[in-house]
Amino acid sequence: MIMVNTHTYATLIVGAGFSGLGAAIKLAQADIEDIVILERSDRVGGTWRDTSYPGASCDIPSLLYSFSFVKNPTWSRTYSPADEIRSHIEEMATRFDIRRRIRFGQEVTGLSFDGSAGVWTATTAVGRRFRARTVVLASGPLADSSFPKIRGIASYRGHKIHSARWDPDYDFAGKRVAVIGTGASAIQIIPELVKQARFVKVFQRTPGWVLPRWDIATPPAVQTVFTKAPAVQQLARQALFWGHEASATALVWNTPLTSLVARLGRLHLHWQVKDPWLRRQLTPDFTPGCKRMLVSSDYYPALQRDNCKLIYWPIATLSPVGIRTSDGIEHHLDCIVFATGYDVHLTGPPFPVTGLGGRLLNNEWAGGAKAYKSASVHGYPNLFFTTGPNSGPGHNSLLVYIEGQLDYLVRGITAILDNDLRYLDVRDDVQRRYNARIQQRLTKTTWMSGCSSWYLTREGFNAAMYPGFATQYLRQMRDFRFADYHAVARAAGVRVSSSA
């Protein structure tokens, strides 16, 4: 039975992770109080709520991997562990009194816009409907995961764990364990698993660039200073921000500095791995930055422990007892950990989004997602994306970029509500010009230098990354141009702004 909530909210937010909660805080600060947040789980936290594998932590310093408007002076380490980030998000929801706005257990299964009424309707998996004049899609880029389609996976009889959906009850002590994948999650999991398991076999397809990570405990004195003088913490955050900004000149564009990063990576490898053959197998063959940079000081040492082995042979198939590799050997295993990443929805959210005239977002994005400033999409008025198309950073904190998106959507939503608009739809020509420029700029970036990564669609289209400095991105997000949109008034359906 479908239950319709007859109230039409000012704003409906999909997701109660960092972005969704951030949006609610910022909207409330702009006096937009009539908000509802739909969250599929029973807790806030988004990806960080679900990330609970051993060793999980952020790989951008916590001072920068947080919102500037939600200060936390007591981060325990440079790179805080996942449970601390989870607590921070929980505390953020409490501190800003967001929880009362959240409807838990409401997984959105569809979003549809009624152009004549200027109202979005969200349907949820439990059969409820929510109406709102504006929508913030904050479902996150890394919210979903599934086991990869590896040959024979259904035949495997042992235990399977996905890194993004950890099984906290499984006891690794004395177990024969495989980890498939050597990306950002794997390099955090492996050093922890080798401490418990009988042996760990690491199945690698492509080695990544690994830079050392200086992860130190924050001295209590520093925490005290940050608590008593928030300006000092802000200063530290700024220093980190500009340090990361500088790294764009090596990681976003292929420059002589990119070669320097490669040298650093090789030096790190040389320093940590003495066996020349193992070193060769761990040496990446793509431009640094093309795939996500990895930071770890304990991954290489873990690989060289007596109970750990790097397997670089291709996986031929999974069998009932383990993994068969192409060198003809069957690896008998008790548990396989799939550190194979997330289901990144490069062609739109995993549910139908129906815009003006019944148009479907997944259809329009099938050839590659396109938006205006990563936030608005022509034909889908009053809908604002966080972590939308071409908003990913390769060198700086995602949270910094999200803050830019929050500022933008607050301006957009304020414009709709203050002007009592039926809808505000970004102009097609503006969106086209913007994307032409973005794609042209992307051609010069490391992401397009020939490696295959989750940033690209199967056809090689990059709808994930923003080709520039965070400063540039933030500047464009601060600049909300009303003239870039068709604005239609609610009452008489008259156009408020002219179209091109």
């Binding site: 040959r151 066996d275 020349p276 053959w277 193992l278 060769r280 063959d285 042979w313 291709p314 031929a316 198939t317 069998s319 068969r324 590799t325 192409s326 060198d327 003809g328 050997i329 069957e330 690896h331 008998h332 295959s452």
Partner: protein
């Protein structure tokens, strides 16, 4: 002759097999007779090390591949050569040629070849590696393995080599397609590449390793009673497969190897005076000068499960 590399990669993935697919305890091991056994042991040891060296060659090729599909194919070929070596070790184990924990000792020419591979292979051009590897594969596929099947009656050996031969036929199809592709390059590019490679110390040292290694194996086969025609036919096949490609003839390394192979298979050619002297000399090479065995050499195993 043109093959679609994407389709080939799919086929390769579809045709994977494992040591666990074979019943290593099935009857037939007793068919190896006493007199033949030591010769077969020496030959099998060399064969499996040569497969292992081939594997290392493919690993170097994977880094040279012009596109990701070919790189992935070479990644599989690297593993498949290793699989062949593992299967050959398992046959030796089955025939009682290896004690518990025993591994066959690589001869001095193998040790030198491996040393060379570790030092220079990753720096060799696609045209050099892409020609030497098919040459070795044709020799293995066309002569050694067929000879072995004629001499050995063990049905498990036949089962293993049928699988190996099927893999090798895919390797050859790709090898010669790539050779043809290399030959498609502009003459100037081929010349620069060739002169640049030949003038390199890596290739000169490589040739000094390659000549005695090849002759040592040839002599072993001779000792086991293999007719020279088999090797002659193998080299003829190398030429036939190469000449089938429209552009392969333009690759200078191909022309040189073709001529060199013709000398190797002719037992009366004066070339053997030189090559056998090199074998003799290498036997006297001071062992302490050899570098430690690289760790990739220790990956070999006759155990189907790990």
């Amino acid at each position: 002759m043109s093959i679609e590399m994407e389709a080939m990669l799919v086929k390769i993935k579809d045709r994977q097999w494992a040591l666990a697919d074979i019943d290593w305890t099935a009857p037939g091991a007793e068919t190896i007779d006493g007199e033949f056994r030591p010769k077969l042991k020496a030959f099998m040891a060399d064969l499996c090390w040569i497969e292992n060296i081939g594997a290392r060659g493919f690993s170097a090729l994977a880094k040279k591949a012009p596109d990701s599909t070919l790189a992935e194919i070479y990644r599989y070929f690297h593993a498949e050569e290793q699989r062949h070596a593992n299967a050959e070790l398992a046959l030796m184990k089955r025939w009682g040629m290896l004690g518990d924990g025993e591994m066959p000792e690589p001869n001095v020419n193998i040790r030198m070849a491996m040393q060379w591979l570790d030092t220079y292979a990753d720096g060799m051009s696609l045209s050099i590696l892409g020609t030497v590897i098919p040459m070795l594969e044709v020799a293995l596929d066309g002569a050694l393995l067929k000879f072995l099947l004629d001499e050995v009656d063990d049905p498990v050996c036949h089962q293993v080599f049928e699988k190996i031969n099927n893999d090798e036929s895919r390797h050859l199809a790709v090898d010669f397609e790539v050779l043809n592709m290399i030959g498609h390059a502009k003459a100037r590019r081929l010349a620069i590449d060739f002169v640049g490679s030949v003038a390199s110390p890596g290739l000169i040292i490589g040739a000094l390793m390659y000549l005695p290694l090849l002759n040592r194996v040839r002599n072993e086969l001779d000792d086991m009673g293999m007719e020279p025609e088999r090797l002659y036919n193998a080299v003829k096949r190398f030429k036939q497969l190469g000449d089938r490609g429209e552009h392969t003839w333009r690759v200078p390394t191909y022309q040189i190897l073709k001529r060199h192979a013709a000398m190797v298979v002719n037992p009366r050619h004066p070339y053997h005076l030189l090559a056998n002297s090199m074998v003799w000399l290498s036997d006297r090479y001071p062992r302490p000068l050899l570098r430690p065995v690289p760790s990739w050499f220790k990956e070999l195993t006759h155990e189907p499960a790990a």
